[in-house]
């Protein structure tokens, strides 16, 4: 782009950064406004991307409460540690 002064670069840079980020503010606010109208906010915390808790539910039968707790904790934390894909196929009483 040929000759371009220091001041021009700095001004153009700062202005661009501010303009782009201010536009993003507006976009986010619009998005939030539409969301809150469209639906009564379902908070992300209540629907986390990976929700290990429900997996415990079917297990929570019988009098094995503590065992269930232990397994659930171990598994849940295990899931937290990156290793992936826990499947409890069945827990049988003998």
């Amino acid at each position: 782009m040929g000759e371009i002064g220091i001041a021009q670069v700095v001004l153009m840079g700062l202005i661009t950064v501010f303009v782009v980020l201010i536009c993003l503010i507006i976009i986010i606010k619009l998005m939030g406004a539409i969301m809150s109208k469209a639906a009564p906010a379902t908070p992300a915390e209540a629907v986390p991307a990976a929700a290990p808790a429900p997996a415990a539910a079917p297990v929570a039968t019988g009098n094995k409460q503590q065992m269930v707790a232990a397994i659930a904790v171990a598994i849940a934390e295990e899931m937290g540690t990156d290793v992936s894909h826990i499947r409890i196929h069945s827990i049988k009483r003998v």
């Binding site: 700095v10 840079g13 661009t16 303009v19 980020l21 993003l24 976009i27 379902t42 908070p43 990156d82």
Partner: protein, 398 residues
């Protein structure tokens, strides 16, 4: 007998006598290893960088050949037939020659950004979009440094790459530098990652100097909860909007937001995990040793490097100041005051800078929990630096 002499002449000890500066570079590499291992300065990158620097400065080892990438081009024919030597023979390409292709072609920084996106929660930013202003203001350091570097005689391309150090985002700095001033990759990467590690040392004095005790004690309202839908839409909307505003920022923003979408969508958990773990780790190793390998004695041991190290501090300092001062300025108009300490987090250096805000804030007011509030400007700073990088690439990119 002659064979033995030839053999001795091929040892590194003999070659060192011809190029004693490489010894100094070995010392520099060891100092960086010390900082990485003992002082724990961003070891994930500084350790590979330092080891790459060590390998590249072993005379005769031939693990990296700058000739392969001379003139900004990749010389494929040398990859095929070997690198010509002074004595008329050729030498096969080395390990880092091949790995460096990923830097040269801009692949590694983008892939790392995919991983960063997978690990970043933009929730605090969406909950408090004003954070973006602080993230913008903290880019001040980039442009102040650009001015300084230009005045010191660097070319605009070099000055841009040096300025981006102030973005406090390693991948962004390496991406811009590999495009605009690859000859400075070594010192710029070292400066960027060292100063990121030094954020807890550089920032607090500036933050305290620019704020009153009362300001530092401001408590902020709890952030609203952000819906899953907003978190999913965010990466898509940001990619489209920023890329249309500034196409040259599309690679960095797109990669970051691809990762974030993989995270927030929740439907590609396998891909999300691999991208932020094994893929990112592999690329980090390759990127680190490749970038380190560019730091040959000729490239590193000159007054430019000292200037870059000095300018780097300036970049971090002005970035910190920019964020803090804009927060104070915004408080003139806001009913719910912002604690200006979160402004400094806008330089990114995620999540270190946000933690600094938390620590400094808690020292004044033990019940003050600024961490989540500081995460907003912190991640906004990543976007801000990518935008600033886009401006430089648009102006000076080939």
């Amino acid at each position: 007998m002659e064979a033995i002499v030839n053999f001795l002449k091929s040892t590194g000890f003999y070659l060192v006598s011809e190029n004693p500066l490489s010894l100094i570079m070995l010392v520099v590499a060891c100092v960086l290893l010390y900082l990485a291992i003992v002082k724990k300065f961003e070891p994930m990158l500084l350790l590979p960088i330092a080891f790459g620097m060590l390998l590249t400065n072993l005379p005769g080892a031939g693990i990296y050949h700058a000739e392969l990438f001379e003139g900004g081009h990749v010389h494929w024919e040398m990859f095929a037939s070997g690198v010509p030597l002074a004595n008329g023979g050729t030498e096969a390409v080395g390990l880092i020659d091949v790995l460096y292709l990923g830097v040269k072609l801009g692949v590694y920084p983008c892939l790392i950004f995919v991983g960063v996106g997978c690990m970043t929660d933009f929730g605090p930013l969406i909950a408090n979009p004003k954070s973006l202003l602080l993230g913008a203001a903290a880019q001040l350091g980039i442009f102040v440094t650009y001015i300084g570097a230009t005045l010191l005689g660097f070319t605009p391309e070099q000055a841009s790459s040096i300025g981006i150090i102030g973005g406090a985002d390693g991948p962004t700095a390496i991406f811009v530098t590999s495009k605009l001033a690859p000859e400075l990759l070594g010192p710029i990467a070292v400066a960027a990652y060292s100063y990121m590690a030094l954020v807890p040392v550089i920032q607090p004095p500036i933050m305290k100097a620019l704020t009153t005790k009362k300001e530092r004690m401001i408590q902020m309202k709890q952030l609203r909860e952000v819906s899953k839908t907003e978190k999913i839409l965010f990466p898509i909307v940001v990619t489209i909007f920023v890329s249309l505003m500034l196409p040259s920022a599309a690679s960095l923003i797109g990669a970051l937001m691809l990762g974030n979408l993989m995270r927030e969508s929740g439907v590609v958990e396998r891909l999300n995990k691999t991208a932020q773990n094994e893929l990112m780790n592999t690329v980090t190793i390759f990127l680190g040793i490749s970038v380190g390998a560019t730091a040959t004695a000729a490239n590193f041991l000159n007054v430019q490097t000292l200037s870059i190290l000095a300018l780097g501090v300036i970049a971090f300092g002005f970035g910190t100041a920019g964020g803090v001062l804009l927060a104070k300025f915004m408080n003139l108009f806001l009913k719910d005051k912002i604690n200006p300490l979160i402004g400094s987090a806008g330089v990114s250096a995620v999540p270190m800078a946000a933690r600094v805000s938390q620590v400094v804030g808690q020292k004044e007011n033990p019940r003050n929990f600024l961490l989540m509030h500081a995460m907003g400007p912190n991640v906004a700073g990543v976007i801000g630096s990518a935008v600033a990088a886009g401006v430089f690439l648009a102006l000076f990119g080939s």
